[in-house]
C-alpha cells in the first residue's frame, strides 16, 4: 500500500459515492452538493494521473461555474425537494430509463469481465513520465493539431448563447415584466462564456 494507492482508493470511492448520492436525493440542492463532491474527487484522480491542467479545469469550469449556475437556478425557482419529480411520467419514459440503465449495466459488466483494465498489482495508475496532460501539451493539441475543430466548437457555443439570448428576449417581451426576467437570463450566458 503506497501513498498513490491510498489516495486513489479514497478519491475513487468518494467520486462514486458522490455520484450515487447525487441521483438518490430528493432535495435538488443536496444533489448539486454531492455532484460537486464527486467532481472534486474526479479532479484528484486527474491530477494523480499527471493531468494537472484537466484537473484544474474540471474544478474551475464544472465545480466553480456550472454548478454555481445550477444552484442559482434552483434558488431562483426556490425548489426545496418537496415536489414529487418522478410521478406521472408516461410509459415511454419509464421503459426508456430501464432500457438505458440496463445497457449501462451491461457495458460496465463487459468492461469488468473483459479485463480492459489489467490488474497490474496496484490500481493500474501510472504517473506518466512524459508531460501528458500538462498545460503545454494540452495547449499544443488544442491550438495546433485540433485548431479547426476547437474553433468550430466555440462557434457552436456562440450560436447557443445567441439563441438563448434571443429566446429569453422574446419571453421577456411576452411577459411584459422585463425587470424580473432579466437576471436569470444574464446568468445563463455568463456560464457559457466560462465554457
Amino acid at each position: 500500500m503506497n501513498l498513490d494507492t491510498i489516495i486513489f482508493a479514497i478519491s475513487a470511492v468518494v467520486a462514486v459515492f458522490g455520484a450515487v448520492m447525487m441521483i438518490g436525493q430528493r432535495n435538488p440542492v443536496a444533489s448539486v452538493l454531492y455532484m460537486i463532491v464527486s467532481l472534486v474527487a474526479q479532479a484528484v484522480l486527474y491530477i494523480q494521473l499527471g493531468a494537472l491542467f484537466l484537473g484544474a479545469v474540471l474544478i474551475i469550469v464544472y465545480a466553480g461555474a456550472i454548478m454555481v449556475l445550477f444552484l442559482f437556478v434552483i434558488m431562483l425557482l426556490n425548489l426545496r425537494g418537496r415536489e414529487d419529480l418522478g410521478a406521472g411520467s408516461p410509459l415511454v419514459s419509464k421503459v426508456t430509463k430501464f432500457v438505458v440503465a440496463g445497457l449501462f449495466v451491461l457495458e460496465l459488466g463487459f468492461v469488468v469481465w473483459s479485463g480492459v483494465f489489467p490488474d497490474s498489482g496496484s490500481t493500474g495508475i501510472q504517473s506518466s513520465a512524459s508531460e501528458f496532460g500538462s498545460v503545454k501539451v494540452v495547449a499544443e493539441l488544442i491550438f495546433m493539431k485540433y485548431l479547426y475543430p476547437f474553433e468550430l466548437a466555440s462557434i457552436l457555443l456562440l450560436a447557443a448563447i445567441v439563441g438563448a439570448v434571443v429566446m429569453a428576449g422574446r419571453a421577456a417581451v411576452t411577459e411584459t415584466d422585463e425587470s424580473d426576467d432579466d437576471d436569470p437570463v444574464k446568468e445563463q450566458t455568463v456560464d457559457e462564456v466560462h465554457d
Binding site: V29, A56, I60, G64, V68, F72, M75
Partner: protein, 327 residues
Amino acid sequence: MLEIVLISSLKVVVIMAAVLTGCAYATYMERKVVARLQHRVGPTYAGPYGLLQPIADAVKLIFKEDIVPNRVERITWGLAPLVSFVPALLTFIVVPFGADIELFGRQIKMVGSDLNIGILFILAVTSLGVYGIVLAGWSSGSKYSLMGGIRSSAQMISYEVGYGLSIIGVILVANTLSLRELVEQQASVGDWFIWRQPLGFILYLTCAIAETNRLPFDMPEAESELVGGYHTEYSSMRFAMFFMGEYANMLAVSAVGATLFFGGWQGPYLPPVVWFILKVFMFMFFYIWLRATFPRFRYDQLMAFGWKVLFPLALLNTMVTAALVML
C-alpha cells in the same frame, strides 16, 4: 518520506497561523484606518493603542449564544461558513513568500507547495469560494439571506470572468503558470509586471474587490437594503467565520496581486518575507481607503459595469497582450 511530511506540515501550520493572525489584525487595521479617515480615533481601550481589540472581539464572539433558527436547512447551513472560509486559506498554500533558504543542510522552499499550475490552482480555489455565500443564503430560509445569496452568486460569477482574464495578460507576458517563476522574473522594480500590464492590473484590482464583496461592491450584504445579506441568520462563531473568511479573502487577493504585479517577495535590503508583508499591507490599505471613500454601487450599475465595461476591456487587454507577445 517522513521528513517531507514533517516539513510540509510545519510549513502549513506556520502559514495558517500567519494568515489567521493577519485576518485578526486586518480587522484592527480596518477599524483604525477608517476611523482616522473619518476623524475618529478607533479602538483604544483594549491594550496599548487598542492592539488587543481583535482578541477581545474573538472572546466576545465565542461567548455569544449560537442561535439556530427553526427554518434553516441544518447541514448545509452549518457547512456554509466553513465553505466560505477554507478556500481563502487554501490560496496561501501556493503563494511564495520568500527565497529558498538553507536550514540544517536542507533546501527549504518558502512556499507551501510549489505547483507548476499555481495560478490555475488559485483560480480553481477562488471559484469554489462563492459556494459558502450561496449556500448560506439559500439554507437560511429567510428572504433577506436568499436575496443576498442570489445577488452575490450573480456578482461573483460575473466578476470571475474579468478576474481570470486580467490574470491571463500576466501569464502571456511571463509565459509560465508557476508563481515561483513569476516572482523570479520580477527581480527588480523595472521588471514588475505592473509596468507591462497596467490595464491588467487595474482590471485585476477592480475584479478582486468585487470578488471579495468589499465596498463599493458589497452587494451581498448591503446593510441598508438586506439587513445583513447572506449572514443575517448567523450568530456567534458561525458569523465570525464568515467575517474571517472575508478578511482571509482580502488577504488572499492582496497576496496574489502582490505576487503577480509587484514582484512578490523581491526587494532590496529587507528580508523577503518583510517585503512580501509590506506589499500585501499596501493592498489592504488601498482596500480600506476605498471603503472609507466611495459609496456603494447600485446593483444594476454593478452588473452593467462588470459585463459592459470590465469584460470587454479585459478581452481587449488579452488580445493586445497576445499580439504584442507574438511580435
